[in-house]
Amino acid sequence: MVENDRWGTLLAHVILILGVFVVVFPVYVAIIASTQESGTFLRGVMPLLPGSYGWENYRTVILEGRSNAGAPPIGLMLWNSFVMAMMIAVGKIAISLLSAFAIVYFRFPFRIFFFWIIFITLMLPVEVRIVPTFQVVASLGMLNTYAGLSIPLIASATATFLFRQFFMTVPEEMLEAARVDGAGPMKFFKDILLPLSITNIAAMFVIMFIYGWNQYLWPLLITTDDGYYTIVMGIQRMVTGGDSEPLWHLIMATVVMAALPPILVILFMQRLFVKGLTETEK
């Protein structure tokens, strides 16, 4: 038994280490690659130790870009991605909070019907409704705008359901106490429900920010003006665009830069995020 256990533990660790390796190695390669000089990759050998061009590569990517190689400075693209992710996260949370509030606390006609309509949107992510959505956005003249980038992605049921579940755990007496205390519906929402949902909102914000940041297909489709390119599709353009060989050292530097903001968001909101996913404040 003891021997069995030891082998079991060993096996488990080997599998876990392999798993970690599979996840971490590409990230490591990206970081290493972003520090090499341009010619390194043409030799077809992938170095595994950092080169000495890191500083220069990142400076090039951030300040100069290589327009002829499909690589403008990434500052604007990072900004676009940030705006899009923020609009999606904030918009989604605002709409979900309000619709969950309506569904849980109000008795209006066709309430169940609307509930199911919202539910059905779960089955229709952007990728499924992409052609008609494009048509609508184009007709409204929202191609190459921040609104066009974010609004079609805002309508979502997931967050609505999360908030609905949370609202239903708030004791009924809380609402009644607020009514006796002279708070109308919106006052109750603002003074009681919102503060109670703060950890859930934080968790939702992190998830939705990353969701928005990682959007690829939709921005690729509706932006033709490079003033609205996002960083994720920018990477793709750097790989396929331009006349020359892909500048892998710059692409990798861009990749590392693109991965930073979501990491920062998680780091800053980690405490609230974990709290929101694991406990509800009573």
Binding site: E176, A177, A183
Partner: protein, 349 residues
Amino acid sequence: MARIVIDDLHKVYAGGVKAVTGVSLDIADGEMIVLVGPSGCGKSTLLRMVAGLETISSGTLSIGDRVVNDLEPAQRDIAMVFQNYALYPHMTVFGNLAYGLKNRGVSKADIDRQVRQAAEMLEITAYLDRKPRALSGGQRQRVAMGRALVREPAAFLFDEPLSNLDAKLRVQMRVEIRQLQKRLRTTSLYVTHDQLEALTMADRLVVLNGGVIEQVGTPMEVYDKPATVFVAGFIGSPAMNMLEMPYLKARGRLPDALPSGADLIGVRPDDLVLDALDAPALSLTGTVALLEPAGAESHIYVSLPGRAQPVTVRVAGVPLHLAEGAEITLRAPVDALHPFDAASGRRLA
């Protein structure tokens, strides 16, 4: 402070369930009314209708001189203490007390003064900056009380406010609530299922059963002269013994003084004595089934021949001379007998 008049109030839920049927009650200014009854008797529904949290199906309700049937809870000038307190968890104690005042547009200085005054009255001044989470059950209860009295409303509504406290704290808070209510002289409606709370706190007691009022009266009236078999069984602990007339006639001795038609006789466990009486109106012989010493008093369960339900007797101290299985004779004076009509359940005389 205000008089509350409840006139023929009905509550019928959407499914046709009748929770309250034809309840009328005139509550004087400053009076403490306790609504008591088993769960599902409609006492909470009645209270919630007065609060405005439940719509009124028919009948009129006035607080002060206003008919408030269609007013929002906040407009009725009432305050409510909830069973689970319903404190706002994200606000400090001060914030909890101040919230209702803030919504009414009271000035900051006045809010501060009123909150501090209420906090002082309830001795929670030291916790004003804490969140409810950091308070014990008794302290939360006080905060809930504070939230009610800080607004100086026309009436307090209590919905089983003590049922989440442990036994010792419950007694303490019971006394405090009653003292506070007497001092403030605020009209109060108090719902409980605990008959001891009901008897000790009420100016007048309202016993509800199945959505209907069984009896209204001072605690002693209700205890001494229960109007129905239900009230007789519900108020008083241990419950009143109920003996059927034919059984008594066959087995025991009965006075002639009982009203005609009485076919159910109630006797409180305290009124049955083991000693000889000058002129016992009732005497029954049975065997001791169980002795239950409870410190200052003891309960003796006596099984009578030919009856499944034993009779309960309460005596002071512990009856050392008795053993389980011993034969004893129980007697009661005539004025301790409560005659009822079994068919209608009503008291006769």
